[in-house]
């Protein structure tokens, strides 16, 4: 049985932990709002881009000379996985869920006899994946010093991916991130970005009322310029979704932690009070029985 002093100390410890988790929850809530705004603000560009791509690919359909970024290299031998995770922990299952999905994907590809290369964006995913697939990780991107994700960050990653593609280092690229549904639900998602999967994008081909697009320069040249840019946009979107998901996951994890700490304090306080009373009773009995003996 712990002594009264021990119990007092434990209550104080749990209380200060609760203060920290409470503060973290509030910080996450504030950051979540900002991250959500950023994700929302980026939506028009991505959807317009999707629309333009859909129009273009509809126009290009059935024609020769499609870009390799769209048609693929014709092989499926080497896969590149871009795994986007957070830089910090303490956010529930957020990082491990993404890593788990990536791991399952990797194992499946390896069992099919395909080569796998991994780029880690964010420290936490790297920490997990390095244990098993250290030899597969070709690059990692550190976003530790980045406070607000700008398009430039995504652009740099896209640049790396594209130069690898141009060097023929992989055939298929898949992006792993967590899609933000709500504060309590973030869905780890795998999205194939090379070859581009344009048809499934949300952009609907616009109704032109019979008119035909004028292209300046040629369709193929525009597509050639648009597709690399689309990779950047997709990565940017993934990073923003991730940022929102991370804060959402942290918020609910910290909410749980705060509640658990509250329960623990209640329990500890209860046993502290019981023990205090037991001690008082014991002392009284000692005094009374001592007086009777005299």
């Amino acid at each position: 049985m712990a002594s009264l002093k021990d119990l007092r100390n434990r209550i104080a410890t749990v209380k200060s932990t609760q203060k920290i988790t409470k503060a973290m929850q509030m910080v996450a809530a504030a950051k979540l709002r900002r991250a959500q705004e950023a994700a929302e603000a980026a939506r028009p560009y991505a959807s317009r881009m999707g629309g333009v791509l859909a129009n273009l690919s509809a126009a290009m359909e059935g024609r020769e000379g499609g870009s390799a970024l769209m048609a693929g290299t014709g092989r499926q031998d080497t896969h590149l996985l871009i795994v986007c995770t957070a830089e910090r922990g303490l956010c529930g299952g957020f990082n491990s869920n993404i890593a788990k999905l990536a791991r399952e994907h990797t194992d499946r590809l390896i069992s099919e006899g395909k080569a796998v290369k991994i780029i880690c964006v964010g420290k936490k995913g790297y920490d997990v994946l390095r244990r098993k697939y250290d030899h597969l990780i070709v690059d990692r991107v550190d976003l530790r010093e980045v406070k607000r994700i700008a398009f430039g960050n995504a652009h740099d990653i896209a640049g790396k991916v594209l130069s690898m593609f141009d060097d023929g280092e992989f055939d298929v690229a898949t992006l792993f991130y967590s899609e933000f549904r709500s504060v309590i639900s973030q869905i780890p998602t795998a999205l194939q970005i090379i070859p581009a999967n344009v048809v499934s994008s949300e952009g609907e081909a616009a109704d032109l009322g019979g008119a035909i697009y004028d292209y300046e320069p040629e369709e193929s040249e525009i597509l050639e310029e648009l597709l690399p840019r689309n990779i950047g946009v997709q990565i940017f979107r993934a990073l923003l979704e991730n940022a929102a998901s991370e804060q959402g996951a942290r918020m609910s994890a910290m909410d749980n932690a705060t509640r658990n700490a509250g329960e623990m304090i209640d329990k500890l306080t209860m046993s502290y009070n019981r023990q205090r009373q037991a001690q008082i009773t014991k002392e009284l009995i000692e005094i009374i029985s001592g007086a009777e003996a005299v």
Binding site: A42, Y45, R48, A150, Y213, P217
Partner: protein
């Protein structure tokens, strides 16, 4: 005034401007062109340059854009720009100073990655200057 053109300028980070305007001059890769309402559908890449937007009351606003696309369809004109800055927010002296700094960065840069970045900034700034 007759019908107005629906114009939207979007960057990856946010929707920069949206509204009904009289006309827009777009710096296309193969030459500048002006878009009025009911323009034929066009899809064009952009070169770094200035987009001039003339609003309802005839006021012209000049916006510098770097890289992107313009799409004209019956719904209106959409410009997707990776970067856009209103020209009125720029000042020549300020820019000259920044270019000077960027030049020094390029010469001082040690590893190739830093050098590449510095060079990019410098190119960007010079483009801005030539647009002014």
């Amino acid at each position: 005034m007759a019908d107005l053109l629906k114009f939207e300028l979007v960057s990856p980070e946010r929707l920069l401007s949206s509204g009904d305007v009289q006309q827009v001059v777009v710096p296309g890769t193969e030459g500048e062109f002006t878009v009025l309402v009911n323009h034929a559908p066009v899809l064009s890449t952009l070169k770094p340059g200035v987009v001039t937007v003339t609003d309802e009351s005839g006021n012209a606003e000049r916006i510098f854009v770097r890289g992107g696309f313009a799409e004209v369809n019956p719904a209106g004109l959409t410009i997707l720009a990776e970067e856009a800055v209103a020209v009125s927010e720029l000042s020549a002296d300020d820019l000259a100073q920044k270019i000077q700094n960027a030049r020094e960065d390029v010469t001082d840069a040690k590893d190739p990655e830093k050098k590449r970045r510095a060079q990019e900034t410098l190119d960007h700034l010079t483009q801005l200057q030539s647009a002014l």
